[in-house]
Symmetry: C2
Subunit: 629 residues, 2 copies
């Protein structure tokens, strides 16, 4: 890990095709907003037409929410050495309430910048950091509360809609827009997401737009229960393995498969430099747990942590552009004993560090006592809080216990304080929870934390399946998302066992995209079912390529299909490998339909009115079975 | 597929070690019942002791429900050529109400038995079939309604408990028995499963013990919502691929990973012979969909099906020992038009066959009109009904629609009729259902079908993830199991795409074991949390081997761990690859505990009483933080 070799540059400069190639059948589109520099990226999937006995029927293209950034855009020129274009730079500058500093204002940031030994590792095009001018509040929440719709807010409104209004106005989409009415447990999801709605949600604290002014490269997104459920992924070297170049590759990989935000949880050396590379190349918000780096600075001795050191770390990271910080300010001295009888004690790293510090000093958690000071830093850069659940359960046995819920109440108290500063807040949640006690977590969070967005890890609904904890937690994640959690932190198959490789990351992300989408469907998010409907229609019509292209992982769907039926001609075959060509329920159903189409009217109408005898009569007399369309 | 080569015998005679080796750290035990020939197989996992500063503390062994049959028993001699021992033969014989026939009484069965060309394929030790003597009803439901506890009922009672009473009487298990009270939505799960409770549940129709008198090899198990949630797996060649030997291997593989029952869905040639091999070597109940084979007999032309042909097929299969039949008797002529406006029509193979037949003949489904005749056959062998949901939805769009629910009501009507014959019944369910509409399925099934056990396929909670449908459906399965579904039919990653290979089957089974276990925990099944608690304790104490051995897939857990930390010494290391040796939350927590142990009493007690100031005072004054244990 220590010294990054000279070939690091070359290595990161050529991301593999696997990571950047556009998705099949798809093109990158940019939906314009009210000003020319609002161009919201989406993915459009083109579909084949349907062949019927009556002729050819077009299938309109499907627009998908796209987290992959410029990497999947063949028009974009990618240069990791220079970073992504600073999409938001003009928006930030024109607000005219920030100033560009001479250089880093943190001690650590300056020391790293001045260290010649780090030259070979350092990202070359570091901008001087930007900070709010004295007396100015520059957070998205502050603007929202002033009634201002920022370009960021308009951007996310367009992004959330995914061209829903256009689809509604286009008769070709009528059938695809059919959707089950949702059950959203008190969420208030409008039929169309407007920029004003975004503003109101941010103002109320029910949603967060993580967007540090020092991360102008990001494509704004929103986290709140009245929006699409989001997922977070984690990267991070540990002291045992991985390197900077790997972390940048993982970032791009994560964006490709659908990570909405990314947390850099590195704990090794050179994490300052790694973070710079990640931020400058990241189209998604980046979160960190600053206490991890602070601990590195005191050689791992929790009791040596001080407020001053931590403060310097916050400024260091805020000036690099980190969009949200996990802060374990709710781990109070008096809560620590509540974990004594637990089966698995304190499993949050941040939580255990702060617990150790509290006991070592017989003092209250300095993150709690300095919370207002932290708010001052957060609002100078618009860093959002992710208030950490340091006492989250590490096993089913410890779920929903006194320690966990005591901390949650304190997080609510801190939320109030942050909001007084117009600082955005998310609340972190468990962890490990049996299925029937998941809902209680959301209800309690909404009540105790005044509907601040909930951001949970899983939860795992059983402890018995290491190597499959993406699945044990994906079950919990779908449920907790349905109940109202705004963002789901992914879990990979390697959780509890080791560090994930690329395929593990992909498995984890797709599992969480499934969970988030299942939650969107259950909540009744407008237009969520379009993709399901389009894919099912493709499946029913044996349009294999369309089925692959509309799926969350087109590549794997195609590979799995080809293992049994590899020939190109099978992609248009009206059968699949499950039943073979002579015995296929889909085909039989079509036969049934064709047969019925020769018959008369209104058997169905009669049935729908409960007139079953009448319906039978229609059929028995050879009347038309199917209503004319 | 056609001719099975001579080396088939050799091939199946040596199952690979991978399939039969005992699980690590485990031994097969047999818990005796009230008579010497009731010996209920379970798996016992031996654990290492815990090293504490105070010394060594034993961890008692954990008993697991075991579906793997004699294959994982090093004491058992396996000879696929001869089949498994006929465990239930004496029980069946001593009831003295059945007769052994001269040979198969179905035309087809006789034809196959007499065909010299099939000699090389044929299982050599076929017993002559057994059938109820005229005037006798020999079903488990019939005995139950007479107040009789059969050995099968006692067997399943012991099996469900997994030595829970012994654990309760042993103080070493006190902490492991801690469990969240469940939410079972009206199920009535007793604290201990007694043979009498099993009898009463079977008598009421709320549970099924699939146990054909011609399948004496099976280890009895029970399906009902007041018992552990079960999972079914599927095997089956199609006309495109696979062979007899592969099917037998898949059976053993399925049992190994936790399949409770297995459906043989073969549609190719020689399915009669394949089925014989599978049944004679199966410790789990076998289900089939007889209409598939009937269709083969009429060369795939649904309209050529007749009651007589179908009847012969039922007898053929019942005399081989199939334990439950999927019968699509609820696909009524008048329901077919209800599918006309569906996005994906009729996707059940059985359903589409019957729909086609109905329309071709303008007649009511012969499975419905001959339902009483079918009951007569079922009860002569004690074959259970699995009433098929031929109109289940094939996409979210079609979920919970008029067609699906109309059929469900008819299945309820048929359940009543079957119960008049004392024939056991399960009800099949969907399919594809958005998360928030899953519960409605269970509620409707329980009401319409009088609490007959529900047996569902998934359901998939989104259509957008082909290649990950074990996960999309695992989410639905955990939920529907929690709400009251008794058995979950697994789905593999290849669903909708191709035929599963061995690893797909394993992924599907483990996913469904997770779902079933998550449901057991949520329902509060007594003792369900013991395994979670034991594993979490092992995890917290860095007993890596114990963590692997207690997991659903010990092999993969170990492999995943070893990818990052391969050395044997790492198995006892007090750190893992996520954080490395110098930064570990588990270790820090232990430090916190050790520190706190030097302190005084009752801070926790004060906190539990809401006296937070008092608690802080204790800590601040350096009083003991942790209660003495």
């Amino acid at each position: 890990m220590s010294a990054i070799p000279q070939d690091f540059v070359k290595q990161t400069a050529r991301l593999s095709d696997e990571i950047t190639q556009p998705f099949p059948g798809s093109r990158k589109i940019h939906v314009p907003g009210s000003r020319t520099d609002i161009q919201v990226p989406m993915r459009e999937v083109t579909l084949a037409s349907t062949q019927t006995s009556a002729g050819t029927e077009d299938n309109p293209p499907i627009t998908l929410y796209d987290t992959s950034g410029p990497y999947t855009d063949p028009e974009a020129s990618i240069d990791l050495m220079k970073g992504l274009p600073a999409l938001r730079e003009v928006w930030i500058q024109e607000r005219d309430n920030t100033e560009q500093l001479e250089g880093p204002s943190s001690e650590f940031g300056r020391a790293r910048a001045d260290d010649p030994e780090l030259a070979s590792l350092r990202f070359e095009h570091i901008r001087a950091p930007r900070r709010a001018r004295p007396g100015h509040n520059i957070t998205q929440m502050h603007y929202a509360r002033q009634g201002i719709v920022t370009p960021e807010m308009e951007f996310v409104a367009i992004r959330e809609n995914c061209r829903l209004q256009e689809m509604r106005a286009d008769p070709r989409y009528a059938a695809l827009l059919r959707q089950h009415p949702g059950e959203s447990f008190g969420a208030h999801i409008p039929e169309v997401i407007t920029p004003e709605f975004v503003r109101d949600e941010v103002a109320a604290g029910r949603a967060v737009i993580p967007a540090n002014i020092n991360h102008p490269e990001l494509e704004p997104m929103i986290i709140g229960r009245n929006f699409r459920v989001k997922i977070n992924t984690n990267i991070g070297n540990s002291s045992l393995t991985s390197s900077i170049s790997e972390e940048v590759e993982k970032l791009v990989w994560s964006c490709r498969w659908g990570g909405d935000t990314l947390m850099d949880l590195s704990t090794g050396k050179n994490i300052h430099e790694t973070r710079e590379w990640v931020l400058r190349n990241s189209p998604v918000p980046i979160g960190t747990v600053p206490i991890y780096q602070a601990l590195e600075k005191v050689a791992g001795k929790a009791e040596d942590l001080t407020w001053e050191l931590f403060r310097d770390t916050l400024i260091e990271q805020a000036e690099q552009g980190v969009d949200y910080f996990t802060i374990h300010a709710g781990v109070l001295l008096r809560y620590v004993p509540l974990t004594a009888q637990r089966l698995t004690g304190i499993v949050s790293r941040g939580g255990s560090i702060m617990a150790k510090w509290c006991l070592a000093h017989h003092e209250e958690n300095f993150l709690y006592t300095h919370f207002e000071d932290i708010c001052e830093i957060m609002k100078a850069y618009d860093v959002a809080f992710s208030l950490g659940d340091g006492l989250r359960p590490g096993s089913l046995a410890d779920a929903n216990d006194a320690a966990q819920f005591a901390e949650l109440e304190t997080l609510g108290e801190l939320t109030r304080i942050a909001w007084e500063h117009d600082v955005q807040v998310m609340i972190e949640g468990p962890g490990h929870v049996p299925l029937h006690r998941v809902k209680e977590n959301v209800e309690k969070e909404l009540a105790d934390c005044f509907e601040a967005p909930f951001y949970t890890l899983g939860p795992l609904v059983t402890d018995v399946a290491p190597a499959y904890d993406h699945i044990t937690s994906g079950i919990g994640a779908a449920n907790i998302g349905w109940y109202g959690t705004a963002m789901l932190c992914y879990v990979t198959p390697k959780e509890h066992l080791g560090l994930p490789d690329k395929e593990d990351v992909r498995d984890g992300i797709i599992t969480y995209r499934i969970a988030a989408h299942a939650a969107d469907l259950a909540k009744g998010f407008p237009g969520a079912q379009v993709r399901d409907n389009a894919l099912s229609k493709a499946r029913f019509e044996f349009r294999w390529q369309d089925q692959f292209n509309l799926s969350l992982d087109p590549e794997r769907a195609r590979v799995f299909h080809d293992e049994t039926l590899p020939k190109e001609s099978h992609k248009v075959a009206h059968f699949c490998s499950m039943c073979g060509p002579h015995f296929c329920s889909m085909k039989i159903t079509q036969d049934v339909r064709d047969y019925a189409a020769q018959q008369g009217v209104s058997a169905q109408e009669a049935l729908e009115k409960g007139m079953q005898d009448k319906a039978v009569e229609f059929v028995e007399k050879g009347g038309k079975v199917y209503r004319e369309v």
